[in-house]
Amino acid sequence: MQQVANNHEHGHAHDHEHGHEDHEQLKVLGFWIFLVTDCILFGSLFATYAVLMHSYAGGPTGKELFELPGVIASTFILLTSSFTSGLAILAMNKGKVKELIGWLVVTALLGLSFIGLEISEFTHLVHEGATMSTSAFWSAFFTLVGTHGVHVSVGLFWMVAIMMQLRRRGLTPVTRRKVTTLSLYWHFLDVVWIFLFTVVYLMGVM
């Protein structure tokens, strides 16, 4: 708090770049708070899932239909993409735009294959007769896993937008902030997936 107050005292208007950086810091804080709200969103979905996780209503159970190898593969892919997005940040800190974009491309490709696997899993489940309207359990399953998938997809679009901006503008306080928030988001989704993998899949087949 004191920090910001001091910055103001020095008169930010003269130092344009400095004022900008201040502003970008503000956006990172806001993004953290957004992640708090997103946490609660997923928390509510997890709670819902926990309540309904045995409500099969005569339909198939998770144990019957889950195929762990595919899920473990997508877990591995997503964890790796989190790692590569970390490498992207390292590249950014070294000021290497090309390397940064390169790692973002790798991250995006991994994210894309995660989504691909999820789609094929859902198709398989629907094929086996487990849909949104089969039972409360499957409603909760598709909603929880699907919401995570939608988050990842949004992240992919965002990543493409940022790569384009990086190419056009290079590293500026604004693009730096964007890469930082994107990587926060990506790590957050990774953490959510770890919970999801444990609660839904591991506990589901046990």
Binding site: V51, H54, G58, S135
Partner: protein, 336 residues
């Protein structure tokens, strides 16, 4: 604006209005304040305790407000002390943090005590009688398993005998309420809630649904008649002798949305209530106050084939035994 007189007049008006309501409370239309059984009596006592405890705060605070507003009004002739920077007093703050704490502690004690008490039979000396209550769109079905009779929109009970109501619904959630006998409890599909009520003396009381269920909701009112045990037995005999039996088809008709007159049936299909409950309790563990109706869990697609079948019930009970703590379904988020 004419100085500080108006706010005080307003407060006097408020006090007068409150007092008139309290006094009027003696009238017999004030069903909540005219308890006719032990449960309603307990609740009446609590209401009175809470009114008294709250008055200990309300009356002095309103008086103090009136005094301060009048005393410290900004008029040329007002000689009251003016201390614009006096804004802290630990002593005073300790006092008014403590007052509400003490009051809440007292009220909390009575609340907790009676919360536990009301879960139980209010009259331990007498074996309670069971009546099953089903909320339908938009009528109440009462089935008497011990007498094997059924009524719609009418309830007759023996006075002096505690009645254990087992309550469910095959319609949107309702709430079963007979104010003169005691407070309400929800009627929910796929679940059974329990409520003990007892009428101390013969009499007629109003009963009604208290939770909105749609178009015909306002018409879900019924009379409750408490009679002596002899008269009650006589009535049961009469019902058995003179009214038609309820068939499955009759129930299906009743279930359809619409209003209904008072109806009585000399019998009802065996296990009807249990079947209604189990129809919607499949797939998730069922809550009850821990009665014998636990766990009529059945697979959805088998529901027509084996309602009430012993084997089916047993199997499912064991399958779901781990979820059998009371309240699992009630406060799902908490218990997981």
């Amino acid at each position: 604006m004419s100085g500080g007189k108006w706010p005080r007049r307003l407060q006097l008006a408020v006090l007068a209005a409150l007092a008139s309501i309290m006094l009027a409370g003696c009238g017999s239309d004030y069903v909540v304040l005219n308890p006719k059984g032990p449960v309603a009596q307990t609740q009446y006592d609590l209401i009175m305790i809470s009114i008294i405890l709250c008055s200990i705060i309300i009356i002095p605070v309103i008086a103090l407000t009136a005094f301060i507003v009048y005393r410290y009004r900004d008029t040329p002739n007002n000689k009251a002390t003016y201390k614009p920077n006096w804004a802290h007093s630990t002593k005073l703050e300790v006092i008014w943090w403590s007052i509400p704490i003490v009051i809440i502690a007292i009220l909390g004690y009575f609340t907790v005590r009676d919360t536990y008490a009301l879960k139980e039979n209010p009259n331990k000396e007498v074996q309670p009688m069971v009546i099953q209550v089903t909320s339908l769109d938009w009528k109440w079905l009462f089935t008497y398993p011990e007498q094997n009779i059924a009524t719609v929109n009418y309830l007759q009970i023996p006075a002096g005998v505690p009645v254990q109501f087992q309550i469910s619904a095959e319609a949107p959630m309702n709430s079963f309420w007979v104010p003169e006998l005691g407070g309400q409890i929800y009627a929910m599909a796929g679940m059974t809630t329990e409520l003990y009520l007892q009428a101390d003396h013969p009499g007629e009381f109003q009963g009604r649904g208290a939770n909105f269920t749609g178009e015909g909701f306002a018409h879900m009112q019924f009379n409750v008649k408490a009679t002596s045990q002899d008269e009650f037995d006589q009535w049961v005999k009469e019902v058995k002798g003179t009214t038609p039996a309820m068939s499955k088809e009759d129930y299906e008709q009743l279930r359809k949305p619409g209003l209904s007159e008072v109806l009585t049936y000399s019998s009802f299909p065996e296990g009807l209530f249990e079947e209604i409950v189990s129809k919607y309790s499949h797939g998730h563990p069922m809550e009850t106050g821990g009665s014998m109706h636990d766990s009529m869990h059945m697979d959805g697609d088998k529901k027509e084939s084996a309602p009430g079948s012993e084997a089916g019930e047993k199997k499912d009970e064991s399958a779901h035994s781990t979820h059998h703590m009371p309240n699992t379904a009630m406060t799902p988020v908490m218990s997981h």
